[in-house]
């Protein structure tokens, strides 16, 4: 049974099965959008947290650190409450759309990007601080400087966010609703197809998902090695 499911799964992939392709491409669209948005917010925010000293900074850092482990279903539930008809943003009718899924994933991965960026930037600034002070570089000016100089470390941070976004199921399930052809992504499809006993499609999706995650990790590793060699 599972042998034949495996073979069927490979056939689906090899034949570019349209249903499979649609699901994969929506997954990528949702998770990539979420990562790009979260990066635009999280990287400068993380760098600012690393550089500025203000009351409450420690609490913010601890909260972001804690939120790195935010369960996806909780992220999904909070966005659900915001977007549901009765919720504060209900009038926009975003629930059960890809947009809602993107919002939920942004919330899910933003803490990862903020916390890891803050750590990387703090490390780098430890090295650069006296030289930058010597050149009278302002705090605000240091943010783009350090983000650029930490670029390779930050790519692995972004890939970590993308990995978490593309592998989670709880958040997109709750706010997307796994609607066929509208909000069905790889993880929610796997859950559904498995429960229906359609193991071939589930397995095919699972293989692609694993491949994707392996690819991300491989890229992160290669970038790390490349950094060591080319930038000293």
């Amino acid at each position: 049974m599972s042998d034949s499911a495996f073979i069927t799964a490979l056939q689906l992939i090899a034949n570019f099965d349209p249903e499979l392709l649609a699901i994969v491409s929506l997954s990528l669209r949702v998770s990539l959008s979420a990562v790009i948005i979260a990066a635009f917010i999280g990287l400068p925010l993380g760098a600012a947290l690393a550089l500025y000293r203000f009351p409450g900074r420690a609490i913010i850092i601890v909260v972001f650190n804690a939120l790195m482990g935010l369960p996806p279903v909780v992220a999904g539930l909070s966005v659900y409450l915001l977007l549901s008809r009765a919720g504060p943003l209900g009038e926009f009718g975003l629930l059960f759309t890809p947009t809602a899924m993107i919002v939920a994933q942004v919330i899910l991965i933003l803490p990862i990007l903020v916390s890891l960026t803050r750590q990387r930037i703090e490390e780098l600034h430890g090295e650069y601080a006296e030289q930058l002070s010597s050149m009278s570089v302002s705090k605000a000016r240091r943010i783009p400087t350090l983000l650029w100089d930490a670029r390779l470390a930050l790519i692995t941070v972004i890939l970590a966010g993308l990995g978490r976004a593309s592998a989670e199921v709880g958040a997109v399930m709750i706010v997307g609703g796994n609607i066929d052809g509208v909000t069905r992504v790889m993880t929610t499809a796997i859950v559904l197809e498995t429960s229906k006993g359609n193991l071939a499609l589930a397995l095919g999706l699972g293989l692609i998902l694993m491949l994707l995650v392996a690819l991300l990790n491989g890229m992160a590793y290669l970038i790390g090695e490349g950094t060591k060699r080319s930038l000293g």
Partner: protein, 241 residues
């Protein structure tokens, strides 16, 4: 070669230390000491490891604040640059490092490339312009740090043991570069524990030992008739603690 423009060519910047002391974790690390850095020459800060040379220079440059006493510049606060013992270079190409320093200073974008190239050429780095700064050799890195300092057009240049990790050829290149600054009228304040280097470069010497200022005298005087037994021992190359 870019000419150096001094903001106040008539008035040489003069730095006063008044009973300056620096403490960390309740421990007195430097001072209290009073001294003046004036004139347009090359001051060498000497003393064994841990004497407080780097600390004195970081205080003078304003990177750390004294725990007690105060420093002030007479006249105006001059433009300054500092070259560190281990050059801190950005993770970018040699040229981009210089362009960054120019950008920070407000140099217009369309002039940066050319000025960076001139400085690279002047400091013998024309063949490594596009290489990542951090894979350059130790000597090249230090010359790049000097080229960057040059573009900052300082009136005062601080150098903290800039040659301590270099081989003789690289040391020579760095010393030549330091003299380029000197001849352009830049005030040099440099630390070293290398006696030969001090004899080659110093116009006057500040001698520190265990965080105390023991001597500040013209180089000839310091080397020929040191006033303290510690300086005498140091000059004779004795191992000190």
């Amino acid at each position: 070669m870019t000419s150096l423009s001094l903001a106040h060519p008539t008035c040489m910047p003069r730095l006063h230390f008044h009973d300056v002391a620096y403490q960390a974790a309740g421990q007195l690390l430097l001072g209290p000491l009073s001294l003046q850095l004036e004139g347009n020459h090359r001051t060498l800060i000497m003393g064994p490891n841990g004497a407080g040379k780097s600390l004195l220079m970081r205080l003078a440059h304003g990177l750390v604040k004294p725990s007690s006493g105060h420093l002030h510049w007479c006249g105006h606060v001059p433009r300054q640059a500092m070259v560190f013992q281990h050059p801190v270079l950005l993770r970018r190409s040699a040229r981009a490092n210089l362009e960054y320093a120019l950008a920070v200073q407000g140099c217009p974008r369309n002039r940066r490339r050319q000025r960076a190239m001139e400085a690279l050429e002047h400091f013998g780095l024309a063949n490594v312009t596009r290489r990542p700064a951090r894979v350059l050799s130790g000597g090249e890195q230090q010359r790049l740090a000097l080229a960057r300092a040059w573009l900052l057009e300082p009136e005062v240049l601080f150098l903290d043991e800039p040659t301590s990790a270099l081989d003789p050829a690289a040391i020579r290149a760095v010393e030549d570069a330091i003299n380029t600054f000197h001849h352009a009228g830049v005030r040099i304040v440099m630390s070293s524990h290398d006696l030969h280097q001090a004899r080659r470069l110093a116009d006057d010497v500040i001698f520190l030992h265990h965080g105390k200022l023991l001597e500040h005298s013209p180089a000839d005087t310091f080397f020929q008739v040191p006033a303290t037994v510690q300086a005498k021992a140091f000059i004779q190359g004795e191992l000190m603690d």
